[in-house]
Symmetry: D2
Subunit: 430 residues, 4 copies
């Protein structure tokens, strides 16, 4: 029973056909765009799309910016057709007239993106293209319209239904592992040996989401440590020899200590919120003895909040800020101010909001997933970055499968933050 990907067939077709077009490779991008939007031939459309993507990939930043500006300006819709369609709809808002209006008002950019995507491995190129586009958004707000078209089409192409959860371990292909090294964003992986210490020991696990449209490219991955108690510092996980301890025990706890998004070009195309939940389910099957699933997470916005001059609504919070700002970020001072730091961090996570949701971005991710705040660990990350961001403090978020959906809904609707009862005494009230 042999399987053959249609993509591979098309790739062959494209590379064979391109030889015939050798002279025409000099065509301008504009020429190729016109050609692509006008093609009839099935193969020639695919070949033209490939030529366009290849030409794009070697453009200078300025050329790329111009390319996007061109898309923004010249790939909208036919104004007269829209007017006619609207007129008919306005007179008779039937579903047929609505559909017609809807079709007429679709920007031609969408058809362009669809045609580009018809060529093999286009998904890689288009995700790269959007990575570029996101950088230009600040410079030219109009390009937001182009990004909306990318978002609309990516949302449809990268359907969650095709996601595959894959275990990453020492038997994983080198092609994937080198990307794990490259994409790890929380606690840098230094080399192949460091990687091995995170994925090979029996008390270390790693999982990634993959999508068939992006072969060999992880979308997001999570690193997990298994242990017999909730770890209160990152050194107990990543320190030398730590992975050699607690091997082959009856594990009770799984800690998610690193979650890294791999594809900046897929920003806002949501994949991550189910990753931890599926990993929890897999680990429960494999290790029935594991009952506690927590993260060990940084508090990246803590320092920034403390530095802000904004006056808080609760006087108690202002007081905490003032007091903590006197504490220097040194090991000594930290040691003698543990309770203060803990209290401030706890209130920061639970009480500080941006709109109705927490101010801290990592808190927003986990609480939005349905987790709750479980424990605060002062001195958990004594690296320079850790000290700077949060006086070395880290937090465990708890994933309790039976509460997740309820927590998520309460959070989504009311912005409610669930936390461990033990933390209640630390909360500042007026």
């Amino acid at each position: 029973m042999a399987f053959k990907r249609f993509q591979d067939f098309l790739s062959n077709l494209v590379s064979r056909q391109r030889r015939f077009f050798d002279g025409s490779e000099e065509e301008t991008v504009d020429g190729l765009l016109v050609k692509l939007m006008g093609t009839v031939g099935e193969v020639s459309g695919i070949v033209t799309a490939r030529q366009l993507l290849d030409q794009y990939s070697v453009m200078s930043p300025d050329e790329k910016l111009n390319f996007f500006k061109y898309l923004e300006k010249d790939f909208n819709a036919d104004r007269d057709m829209i007017r006619q369609a609207f007129k008919r709809y306005d007179e008779d808002p039937s579903s047929a007239n609505l559909n017609q209006l809807s079709k007429m008002s679709e920007p031609r950019r969408q058809e362009l993106l669809r045609r580009l995507n018809s060529t093999p491995d286009a998904a890689h190129d288009l995700v790269e293209m959007r990575t570029d586009l996101l950088r230009f958004l600040a410079a030219d707000e109009k390009l937001k319209s182009v990004d909306e078209d990318f978002i609309r089409l990516f949302t449809s192409w990268f359907g969650r239904g095709f996601l595959v959860l894959q275990t990453i371990d020492w038997s994983t292909s080198a092609a994937i592992l080198e990307r794990i090294i490259k994409y790890e964003a929380v606690h840098e992986i230094k080399d192949w040996d460091d990687l091995r210490s995170r994925i090979d020991p029996p008390n270390r696990r790693c999982f990634a989401f993959f999508h068939p449209a992006l072969r060999d490219e992880p979308l997001i991955f999570v690193e997990v440590a298994l242990s017999v108690q909730v770890p209160s510092s990152i050194d107990s996980i990543l320190g030398d020899e730590s992975s050699n301890k607690e091997v082959d025990l009856e594990y009770t706890t799984a800690t998610f200590y690193g979650i890294s998004n791999c594809q900046p070009g897929l920003k806002n195309i949501s994949f991550g919120n189910f990753l931890i939940k599926q990993v929890v389910q897999e680990l429960q099957m494999e290790y029935p003895s594991i009952k506690t699933f927590v993260t060990l997470s940084p508090i990246p916005g803590f320092h920034k909040w403390l530095g802000s001059v904004k006056v808080e609504e609760l006087a108690g919070l202002d007081l905490l800020k003032t007091e903590l700002n006197k504490v220097r970020k040194s090991e000594d001072e930290l040691e003698s101010n543990r309770e203060l730091i803990k209290k401030a961090a706890c209130n920061y996570l639970i009480q500080l909001k941006k709109g109705k949701y927490p101010l801290d971005p990592v808190a927003r991710f986990h609480l939005g997933n349905g987790a709750s705040i479980y424990q605060l660990n002062v001195g958990a990350d004594m690296s320079d970055k850790g000290l700077y961001q949060s006086w070395g403090t880290m937090v465990n978020y708890l994933y309790d499968l039976k509460d997740i959906e309820e927590n998520h809904e309460a959070y989504a609707i009311e912005g409610e933050v669930k936390f461990n009862d033990k933390l209640r005494p630390l909360i500042v009230k007026d």
Copy 2:
């Protein structure tokens, strides 16, 4: 290295969650629709979608018709929002205003279909749903708008890029094989033994396209016979013992003698036009000695044309019709009128048009793929159906990879029909 489909994770989630909703399963379809469009919870949306699809599947035909009517009437868009968006666009046709108008004029049906599709295995149910819908279109033309929304979303979901070509043989799973038996539309497969005679012998091959959204469901498949000459009758392929002959020879010819679409609910979502081309490529790799790739195809519209009273533009064609209509569809008369039948069939295929394309649907398929007419075979299918449709005549279309793209373009643009020079003397001119 373990792979876990996200779909399977969701399936578990849904079946676990549904137990909590047991009481609420009595909810009406209307209630579920409202609930689905308003859900916030990630899991509850998925559960509601599953409930809706399950309730739909047990509806009576009348209830289904009402369901579609409801979608047509009540899932359009907000008229006021459209008016405002149009006004802004009309004043300033910027890309931002266009995008806004485009978003506002999207029928809510599309969001509904997207939400339904979020639940595991929704693709099967939605394809079934559209199969029903297609039957109602004749009765209520308004439903065409609903179908347009299905088409738009299916086109995006069933991206060609995910297609997989799979060899079908005796080592294929029974779950897939029973569908091959069921879906064969050209030459019925009687039972498992008949199936085996078509896929197991070394000079018989079968290939199907699959898509990950429809697991175990072939989309379209093609049956192939390998031989040392172009077969001129279906009996030489399907007759008793035919598969035992010509085994293990240096094959020169591959004949596609049956192509069956399996999913009526995917009508107009194009997959088939690349199937034969990919199969040709695969067979060339495996058997370098094969140089000729042809079909052995029915001429399904021949009889109907002969029965039509319409006067042809060319007097010679009318003459052929009149003459052939005198010939009874019996073996004897056929034998003594071979040349007449051949000439009439040849002219029917090459000269008779509907718009600029051939009248015969099978001719449209193969010629549109870039094939050419190679040979006409009188007496090639002496079954009742074969005699009735086309005086037992079949046609070989030729797939010559080096001409395919050019033929396809000439056909697509001009409706040009390519054919073997040997057939030129048969063509009627004025």
Copy 3:
């Protein structure tokens, strides 16, 4: 990452080379045997082995018998060499001299079998060859020596370490499923629909052992029914609609109701004794709610024992025999003699021995595996065969993982039969 079996490479080699030998295919078996034992060329040896196996496969029974007789007579060892080796060993029983004697006294048949096995797919042919040989053993006792050589080599080739347990279900390949239909020995599978009712419903499972040397050929398989209580009749498992009941419940019980050996040519090459244990482990992982693992087994030797005239040591057993022999095997009489039948069957299974082990062959298999007798079910199999063999009685053997090893050792050493305490009152003592 592509995998290529070395076997497939050799197959290509052999079929290509054979064309050169076309004239020489007329060689006699004797000639081929001489050639095979004398070959130097790597490929020519493999080709000659294939020729020999092919010639063997088309021999008449008489020719086959002669072939084995020839192996028995002419493929022993060199008597003089043995004498010399023995002399040296007898003078100095060093390990070197022992090894030399061991080498000299190896029958040349073993080298012959090894050389035959060097050709691709030889395992299939050699297993078939031994199937023939086993039939001749009764006729010619000397052939037992040939069989000993087969056993010695099969034991080594079919190492347990390569066994693979495979789930058999509706997604299994048709090539394997047709063998399941063919090999089912306990409760005949009538057709593909009957097969489907045994492997497709969620409360039916099937597992088989495979070995890479015998591709697509199951060695042994077991059929399992999941339920919420221990089934007391085969009709509750195989009767119409039975598989539709008890679907999707919280199963508590797995019943092994059919175990079939597939390869007569592998007689005495033990695979089966671990099959049930591994299946128990797999099912426990998948369904933690299942706590009871039993068989529903026939009592094939019961009728034969009752018919035997041998006087038992225990007078009570003779009495039971006499009484039961008066009962006709009809539904009525059976109904009014349930207690008598149960008591007799129970004593037959527990007390009747052949040597130190039970008389009943199925009892020997399960008790030897470490199972215990759990329950006797009168009227459990009312088919003609069931009535005839055992007055329709079947027995549940219990597989309790925590007792299995201890039971097995007590059985292996002492022949001790473990049984449920509930059965103790039925045991006849003097």
Copy 4:
């Protein structure tokens, strides 16, 4: 369709059972040996074997030597039983009596090795064990008997029929790739980047043989460079940037530039002789344009021969030796003596013998495989090792599939060395 390896089931069983034996793990090796040879229980035998292998693995070299001495002395056979069996055989040399003698004279070591091999992953341990044993052979010649038992059993266990050829590339698992780095014996692989330059570029290929008994452990692998001409130096293959040249051309030549055996413990258990042949076949399928298959091989015995004082039979050879010995192994002198070096190397390879086969070990390997000497390249390997071994000279052996079998037979029977006619003028005669 799920597959479960029986090995994994046993592994679970063993690790679970070992907990019960915790106290008894202190048992001596002698005690375990006695226990293993006497076990009845299926599981307890497997557990004891695992305990023994684990204890062995932590022994000191002296303890290991004693272990082997013990095997040599105390695991022979029963002298009286052999005498009786011989007596019966001597009186009546029937096949039954021969089989009995054969059985009696089998050293008990063989049964011991078989029982050790019953535990999961025993193959790894036993191959390691033999690696140790091979080192002790020089010290104690008697241990050769123990090694003969290892050879006999390994020959049977590592049947060629189970070999799998696997492509090694950048998508191969890190677990396998690190072994490739470790085992490369010809041209050292410095790090992961160096590895990548050998397996990832489109004009570089690597293939390895694997065996299911040694999971993830390559047995032997070969590195291949694709090019448009026969390479005459190793620098043109391994030098910087060399792999970037000649990419994506119509390759005509495949060069095997490194062949490494990975398992010293499998010495004399032949796998390698088919590797190149299968790779040739695979490459021919993939690249029909490749017509020339050569090696680029060192001449490791050249220097040693030149240093030997033995007088050659042919005076001409002695002359060559004397002349070449005057040439210093420096780049300069080499340059001005190319013809002399070439002539000497050519005669060394073709004329110098050990018994009837070539003196050079690499020549023996390739010529024994059926290759021929194609071309000599002076200055092909200017590394220290290359200069030292062979004045920087390397040789291309040619694999021409149509001659291989004939060459192999001529070589095996007569020791005949095939070589390119171009080399004939260089041959020294008397």
